[in-house]
């Protein structure tokens, strides 16, 4: 199994073996022909939207008919920045990230460490924790909505049985956040668990042998060997989780429709509403680009930090 480290976004493209050899004409032609179809589709259909968004954000385009509409300069941007609803939606996405990232990272680390100590039933744990991840979000929402149903649902019953106050899972803001967080935890936990499990298996076994001979207790082995050796993986899992959580839409839209009173509406749903309920394409595009820039800035900062650390470690 290849390591998680190989998932780093950029393994710098290594030079082909014979770098000094001049490429022949046929090689150049074959290269263009083989990569051409992919690049064409990729540029038009994946990079294209970014460019379209950048252009459209300067016009008052609508989403119901073709054509750009009138040039409005930066006014879309100034209005988005001045819209308290936009910043509330941004805050809801951040809030969701703050709720979900710590449990999803820490629990995954804990369970992966525990699972690594057990030899039997590996496959069982893997299936139990990862199976929810392959299920569509709307199916997860259907099941959880039923489990959250007041009086007859499973979750209120369990809360009741252990003596916790039962929140109004769908009708109140705090209950809504609880509901969405629990559902997300169940749904995506397996992903981080799998990343950690793979990383733990790359820790050479003789490190533990040596520690055990020196009399290290299991807890000391975990605390002083496993967790420090997983630092790189943790950094990867954290950034993937932050970016994924900031992109939240499905769970909140399906379970709460952003409600009650838009008090949980995440930023993608805000963009969705401006674009597809009030049909303001240009305005929505401006909001999209601001939000896009935030996510790219976070990933780039993480990546830069990682490069900087690596170069410092090498020096």
């Amino acid at each position: 199994m290849t390591t998680v480290a190989s998932t780093r976004p950029v393994p710098a493209p290594a030079r082909p073996a014979a770098a000094d050899r001049r490429p022949s004409a046929s090689e150049g032609r074959a290269g263009l022909l083989l990569s051409g179809p992919f690049l064409l589709v990729y540029v038009v259909f994946v990079i294209g939207p970014l460019l379209v968004g950048a252009v459209v954000s300067f016009f008052n385009t609508t989403t119901v008919k073709n054509g750009l509409g009138a040039w409005v300069g930066l006014s879309n941007y100034t209005r988005v920045c001045g819209d308290p609803l936009f910043w509330q939606a941004m805050w809801h996405s951040v809030l969701f990230t703050l709720f979900t990232t710590p449990p999803l990272v820490l629990l995954a680390l804990l369970f992966a460490v525990l699972a690594a100590r057990i030899r039997r039933a590996r496959v069982f744990y893997r299936i139990a924790f990862f199976a929810p991840y392959v299920v569509p979000s709307s199916v997860v929402a259907l099941i959880f909505l039923w489990m959250y149903t007041p009086q007859v649902g499973l979750v209120p019953k369990v809360f009741d049985a252990v003596g916790l106050p039962v929140p109004d899972f769908i009708g109140s803001t705090s209950g809504g956040w609880t509901a969405v967080t629990l559902m997300t935890l169940w749904w995506t936990f397996g992903f981080n668990f799998v990343l950690y499990t793979a990383a733990i298996q790359d820790v050479p076994g003789d490190v533990y042998e040596a520690a055990a001979l020196d009399g290290a207790t299991p807890w000391q082995q975990i605390r002083f060997i496993t967790i420090p050796l997983l630092a790189r993986t943790t950094s990867l899992v954290v950034i993937l989780q932050i970016v994924a959580s900031l992109k939240v839409f499905d769970q909140i839209y399906l379970l709460l429709s952003g409600g009650p009173n838009q008090s949980t509406r995440p930023v993608i749903e805000y963009i969705y509403d401006t674009g597809f309920t009030s049909y303001r394409g240009g305005y929505g595009a401006a909001a999209t680009l601001i939000y896009f820039a935030v996510i790219v800035a976070i990933s780039a900062a993480w990546y830069g930090l990682r490069r900087w650390r690596a170069s410092r470690a090498a020096a």
């Binding site: 998932t7 490429p23 990569s35 968004g53 990862f130 392959v134 909505l145 533990y208």
Partner: protein, 294 residues
């Protein structure tokens, strides 16, 4: 997958070098196993709960929510769900879209990865940079401009609107690229010296070797494109042309109190995926671990 972890505590217990810590170790491992098994069982509860609910009559669900056997079991809810929602066409749409995505992904991404791994051509560095940058771009965030672009290209409402963007995932190029780079270079050069064209080298030498990569990319693309939600929700606006996740989303409503029927539909929604997962769980988990995609 199972090798490394014949971890020390167990072996230590056998050798008996330090009996006291060995006992503590075994005890600790027992505790771990109990804890973990408990949580794994909790993780299975929603699946089981949905399945059990789907088999019960609505009346007994609301009267005795937790006594599972009250009222007897029947498959009535499944018949109702099948008759009342166009689940068959949703399945067909999802199958066609995911199938096309898989085929196109494997072809386009492997060709591009082959070119990037072995050939020097004009714009290679730029292409590599573009693909690398694509790994970090949160393209899901771009649905609105994407919608505007696809509308002006008259692609809305077609399968292509879903297939094309999911067929050019940069991460798939990277999986193939990593695999091609692992092929010994003399093998490729020998084929070239024998007079094979680059296309032949790609199709008859490189591709047969990287079957595992084809499997990984294929399965993961299938699951991702099957489960896609927001983009299909925007693109396919006819009830009959929707995919399984989008179609089922229309049943998500707190006022929908036909619990057995709704759960029967959700079971129909997750069963095929869980079945695929159980069959390919090793490849899926390894693929996810190596690519870190989501």
């Amino acid at each position: 997958m199972t090798t490394v972890t014949t971890s020390s505590p167990a072996r230590r217990a056998e050798s008996g070098a330090r009996p006291r810590t060995a006992d503590a170790g075994t005890l600790f491992n027992r505790l771990c196993a109990t804890c973990l098994t408990l949580f794994a069982l909790i993780w299975l509860v929603p699946f089981v709960w949905a399945l059990v609910t789907s088999l019960r009559p609505d009346g007994s669900i609301t009267q005795h929510p937790t006594s599972l056997f009250a009222g007897g079991w029947s498959l009535h809810a499944y018949r109702y769900a099948w008759d009342n929602y166009p689940i068959g066409s949703w399945y067909l749409n999802s199958l066609v879209i995911s199938g096309l995505s898989v085929v196109l992904t494997v072809v386009l991404c492997s060709m591009a990865a082959f070119a990037l791994a072995y050939l020097r051509f004009r714009g290679r560095t730029a292409a590599m940079a573009l693909v690398t940058a694509g790994l970090m771009l949160p393209s899901e965030a771009l649905v609105l401009p994407q919608f505007i672009e696809y509308r002006s290209l008259h692609l809305l409402g077609t399968y292509w609107a879903l297939v094309l963007p999911s067929a050019v995932a940069p991460v798939s190029v990277f999986v193939f690229h990593a695999f091609f780079r692992g092929i010994p270079r003399p093998l490729i050069e020998a084929a070239r010296i024998d007079g094979a064209s680059w296309w032949r080298v790609y199709a008859t030498v490189a591709m047969p070797i990287c079957r595992p990569a084809v499997a990984t990319v294929g399965i993961l693309t299938f699951i991702t494109s099957w489960n896609a939600f927001l983009w299909p929700l925007l693109v396919l606006n006819q009830t009959k042309s929707q995919t399984v996740p989008v179609g089922l989303a229309s049943l998500v409503s707190p006022s929908n109190i036909q619990y057995a029927e709704v759960m029967a539909s959700s079971v129909l929604g997750f069963l095929p995926l869980v079945a695929v997962f159980l069959v390919f769980q090793r490849q899926i988990v390894q693929g996810v671990a190596t690519t870190g995609i989501r």
